[in-house]
């Protein structure tokens, strides 16, 4: 293993450029995103609004079937490796005709931060889970 790899992954985990993708938000307005930005001091910060230059896609709220192809296209244009965080309220008990029930079936999702809106601590724990993945402490794919 390259002896500089831990340093490299540490730098990578601390400098993720974030691309926000706002889906439908049932309640709380843009609070989930505001909450996420409040935790930006932990490392990731909003980068440019261009998928090609972003490392991390933050999907906020439930995504509708109508938005799914656009989300998939956005994700496909991101540079590899790309990371996906989904900030969403708890899933409704009954599925709807309009919404995508699980985002994992559209794009690969690394971390789901659940809450309506999630509190700072939950966001921080979610970002810590993501950092573990970026630094290679936790495998990304099931073996």
């Amino acid at each position: 293993m390259n002896p500089l790899l831990p340093l490299f992954t540490f730098a990578q985990a601390q400098s993720l450029a974030v691309l926000p993708f706002v889906g439908t938000i049932p309640s709380g307005g843009l609070l989930p995103w505001a909450q996420f930005q409040g935790a930006a001091a932990l490392g990731p910060a909003p980068g440019s609004a261009v998928p090609r230059q972003a490392d991390m896609l933050v999907v906020v709220g439930q995504v509708s079937q109508k938005l799914a192809p656009i989300l998939q296209r956005t994700h496909a244009k991101m540079a590899v490796p790309s990371w996906v965080v989904h900030v969403r309220p708890p899933l409704p008990a009954r599925p709807s005709y309009a919404g995508v029930e699980s985002l994992e079936e559209i794009i690969p999702v690394d971390v789901v931060i659940e809450g309506d809106p999630p509190d700072d601590e939950t966001v921080a724990r979610g970002l810590a889970a993501l950092e573990d993945r970026v630094r290679g402490r936790v495998p990304r794919e099931a073996t």
């Binding site: 079937q65 109508k66 799914a68 192809p69 998939q72 708890p90 009954r94 599925p95 709807s96 005709y97 309009a98 919404g99 995508v100 029930e101 994992e104 079936e105 559209i106 794009i107 690969p108 999702v109 690394d110 971390v111 789901v112 931060i113 659940e114 809450g115 999630p118 509190d119 601590e121 939950t122 724990r125 979610g126 889970a129 990304r140 794919e141 099931a142």
Partner: protein, 182 residues
């Protein structure tokens, strides 16, 4: 509205439109409602809009209700379309509604009277399949082209989704972080 104003509007509508109402003005849920024949809708709406005493010049809401199949298979009153009006100058509110049978769910488009009805009527078509006759641009509003059926109708299965992209899971595992856990 206070009772005096309510009474005033009821009398006004009865005096002016009495012969054209299918049912008397009734108060339901704190709102005045009058049932009208759909073929007279445009005439009545433009009259109420122009009338100096009623001055109901704002269309604040337009929506449909699917009452489902009627008892003993009577589907003549399956859908209802409600037009909620307000006056910008006077303290009046009024809802006109018309009832549509299942086999002919069309209403005359009121875009020529209230421009605000444009998107509302597209929504009617999108979610209920109620066709606004004479609308300048009937297209789906909320859902996408290619969506089959009208999900506002009671016979549309609630959970039936029509994905635009193929659904498949990738090899990446997902960590779910919830609030209130340590």
């Amino acid at each position: 509205m206070t009772d005096g104003r309510r009474q005033h509007l009821c009398t006004l509508v009865k005096n002016r439109l009495g012969p054209y109402l299918l049912r008397d003005v009734e108060v339901r849920g704190g709102e005045e409602r009058a049932r009208v024949d759909r073929h007279l809708l445009i005439t009545l709406l433009s009259f109420l809009r122009r009338d100096r005493d009623a001055h109901l010049d704002m269309l604040v809401d337009l929506f449909a209700v699917d009452h489902g199949p009627g008892e003993d298979g009577d589907n003549r009153t399956r859908y209802a379309v409600h037009y909620r009006l307000r006056s910008s100058r006077l303290p009046y509110r009024l809802t006109l509604h018309c009832v549509l049978p299942e086999d002919d769910p069309t209403v005359p488009s009121v875009v020529s009277v209230f421009g605000a009805a444009h998107w509302y009527e597209r929504e009617l078509y999108d979610l209920f399949g109620i066709l606004p006759d004479g609308h300048p641009n009937v297209r789906r509003l909320l859902l996408y082209p290619g969506f089959a059926g009208h999900p506002g109708r009671r016979d549309y299965p609630r959970a039936k989704s029509q994905p635009l992209v193929p659904l498949r899971r990738s090899a990446v595992t997902t960590v779910v972080v919830r609030g209130g856990e340590s």
